[in-house]
Symmetry: C2
């Protein structure tokens, strides 16, 4: 009913649903509450339920039909999925969990206590148990863990008409029908076929005749981020997953990939600000966890500043004679840290998004060094002028400007080098670079400053 929607955005509609739902539940009008949920999309019902007071979430969820309940459950935030599981009677839980798609179920099981998982696993139907155990057997963050075993496999000898018939019968239990996979007798992947190719082919042709043989696939142990890049690169809707023997074991669809790209971006963004990302929603974790996720990086800073502070303390006699030198420390340390952060940020992001492509590490570091030189010259000139204006001593002003130039170059080079070093050590550049760069730039920055100052001032 698009004609009725133009005056509301989807966001407003969702809020409306949540508010109506809450007031109907408060009045005990369950029939009314049930009625307003009928025409609403599952993702929106999930959000409405998330917005309700905790006590009402289970009640609202129970108003849904069984099919709806399963769909809505898959869209809920994992903390609320867990809370609901505890509220439900045993049979309700089994009904819902058994119907979830294996990849979503594996994700839920990752969050639940081990005891609950093993109890649930026992009670699943044999087929679903096998599918879930398969996924849980792969390491978190790999293709094996996020794939779904619910795909359509064909033989090369099938005709187009036979294949369409097979799709009709399998459609309800597969994740996607838009790609079809062709395997040989040993279940090895030999080709791929899109539904698009199929509907435009002649009914008597065989899948072997129309399939594409140069299949892009991933292995079960391929990193999930690499899978995401691959799908993004080739504009695929899904990618097949094979085991070591090239046997097809699952597929990964584009909707999961979007979530991975977003999650990885959040992790990188958090890492740059020194907040640990553990996959949970930051705003739904308690304050102790929040403090824990933020304090590590702050402690690193504290340690770094212990070194910087000790260096400044060691220059106490110089500072007592010329206290104004202290006025420029925040400028030098701050600018240096920021130039370094800029360089490492563009390199880290470039490594993650493939933007760097064919450029080598040496080229990039050289480029960043030149950029640091340009920026340092501009900033150093301005800083010299300002420092002279502030205190009228040309030697001090020159020491500040020269230090800023040296620190900019150093920071750019260090900022662009460290991500490559960490990557070659198989460490995540995003997680490791920021603390090291800040430490290096801060400590070396004040050292450079005091040495240049002593040199210029002849002290």
């Amino acid at each position: 009913m698009p004609a009725s929607l133009p005056d509301y955005s989807r966001q407003e509609l969702r809020n409306l649903v949540r508010i109506q739902l809450q007031s109907l539940l408060e009045e005990g009008d369950f029939r009314g509450a049930k009625a307003i949920l009928v025409p609403v999309q599952s993702a929106d019902i999930a959000e409405a339920i998330e917005g309700l007071p905790e006590a009402m979430q289970a009640i609202a969820f129970r108003l849904l039909s069984k099919t709806e309940a399963i769909e809505v459950y898959e869209y809920l935030d994992s903390t609320i999925q867990q809370a609901l599981i505890e509220e439900f009677k045993r049979q309700e839980v089994i009904d819902i969990v058994d119907q979830m798609s294996p990849d979503d179920r594996a994700r839920l099981f990752d969050e639940l206590p081990a005891k609950v998982v093993s109890r649930l696993l026992e009670q699943l139907s044999p087929e679903e148990r096998r599918a879930t155990a398969l996924l849980l057997g792969y390491e978190a963050g790999t293709a094996g863990r996020i794939m779904t075993p619910e795909y359509i496999a064909l033989k090369e000898t099938f005709t187009v008409a036979q294949t369409l018939e097979r799709i009709r019968s399998l459609s309800p239990v597969t994740e996607t029908i838009y790609y079809l996979y062709v395997t040989d007798t040993a279940r090895r992947l030999t080709g791929i076929l899109s539904l698009r190719d199929l509907v435009t082919a002649q009914p008597h042709q065989t899948t072997g005749e129309i399939m594409i043989r140069d299949v892009v696939f991933v292995h079960t142990d391929t990193d999930q981020e690499e899978v995401a890049r691959l799908i993004q690169r080739y504009d695929f809707l899904a990618v097949p997953v094979v085991d070591r023997e090239q046997r097809l074991v699952g597929i990964i669809t584009v909707d999961d990939v979007i979530d991975i790209i977003e999650q990885e971006a959040t992790e990188d963004i958090y890492a740059l600000a020194g907040v640990q990302a553990d996959g949970d929603n930051y705003f739904q974790t308690n304050l102790v966890t929040v403090a824990r996720r933020r304090v590590v990086w702050l402690l690193v800073l504290l340690l770094t500043n212990t070194a910087t502070g000790s260096i400044i303390k060691s220059q106490e006699s110089l500072l007592s004679r010329l206290a104004v030198l202290a006025a420029f420390i925040p400028l030098l340390v701050g600018t240096g840290g920021n130039v370094g952060a800029q360089s490492s940020t563009v390199v880290i992001r470039g490594l993650h998004t493939d933007e760097i492509r064919t450029l080598g590490a040496v080229q990039i570091v050289f480029r960043e060094g030149i950029a640091g030189l340009i920026l340092g010259t501009m900033l150093g000139t301005l800083a010299t002028l300002w420092a002279y204006w502030l205190q009228g001593n040309l030697s001090v002003a020159i020491a500040v400007g020269a230090s800023l130039l040296a620190i900019s170059v150093l920071a750019s080079v260090a900022g662009s080098t460290l991500p490559f070093i960490f990557r070659s050590l198989n460490l995540d550049p995003a997680l490791m670079s920021a603390p090291f760069i800040t430490t290096a730039v801060d400590v070396l920055g004040v050292l450079i400053y005091f040495n240049i100052a002593r040199l210029v001032l002849g002290m």
Copy 2:
């Protein structure tokens, strides 16, 4: 040929293609060069071409068949697309540009000089010109600009068999056939139908009987980021775009959405490090542009530090008497800036990814304030101990610890408040928050420190 691939990753294969291609071109073996490109995916050929020396790019591109050339061209980086356009003869350009899909073409035209665009537009076939002009008429960053008008529209009275026939004939010229759109006589969108629903329906049913009437759609002026969130939220493969009169004018597909999510994440990441993102690949822009994109933020820092420096300078007499106070300035300013950055980062990311959901601004700021208190207490205690160990003066140590506590709370509150303020002023929180927080925390930080120090030390 999956069986031949296990020993190479796709990345290695791509490098191999590029290296072989380059050496064949250097030897003048065009036939060989052509042959190695035949079994390679378009996206990989595009990357191989991007990796070649500039002079060879046009030569390699000319080796491709016409159909291949169009596909490969769409995958090339926009700077190389531009360079190739200048190399080509007029007719070659028209052939390629005319065959591009309208959304990719609009994206290319955004980058080209206006003169070239108007010349190219004139020479397109009337239908393609109309499609492109339509897209270019919408503002950059909106749904209208990124949509494609190449979709399949149906009437409610069509039977399943008729629809399948229509798909067969239209398949080559549409972006996706997996969603079909039903419109009334005034071209208003009335329903949507997936190919999945279609192949599982009976041939004699009409589209009106099996279509879904509660269509999620966007308007031509909807922000592209909102479109991306919508597709991500509902796990769609495409979303229809309507004009003010609810007439269907285009669709946006999931592959474009992945690129938008990635691009927006890059913009946010760059913004947090103070690098301006302008949509171009950072590593392919010249160093002057690089310096321009980075210097603005560094100048803001310089200005901020002018204020901080002036405050420190004004305390020259205090510092001459007790130079050790200077040793703690980097610690206080650095930690304060970082606590503020953490708070603003999680809030900005939360606003962008919907993680904040139903929490209000007041709740969030309060939560962050408490987090700042916890972090400040922990860090303040440690800083007091360290400051005492460093210089043995208890009053100074207490002044340092107390300042750190006050600065942490201030930074958390400021860091979480500013993104909400900027959003309510319709400014991008990611772009605006960092400079303001650093300024506020630095300036207020040193003020707090010196005032507490004077108070505690009785000076």
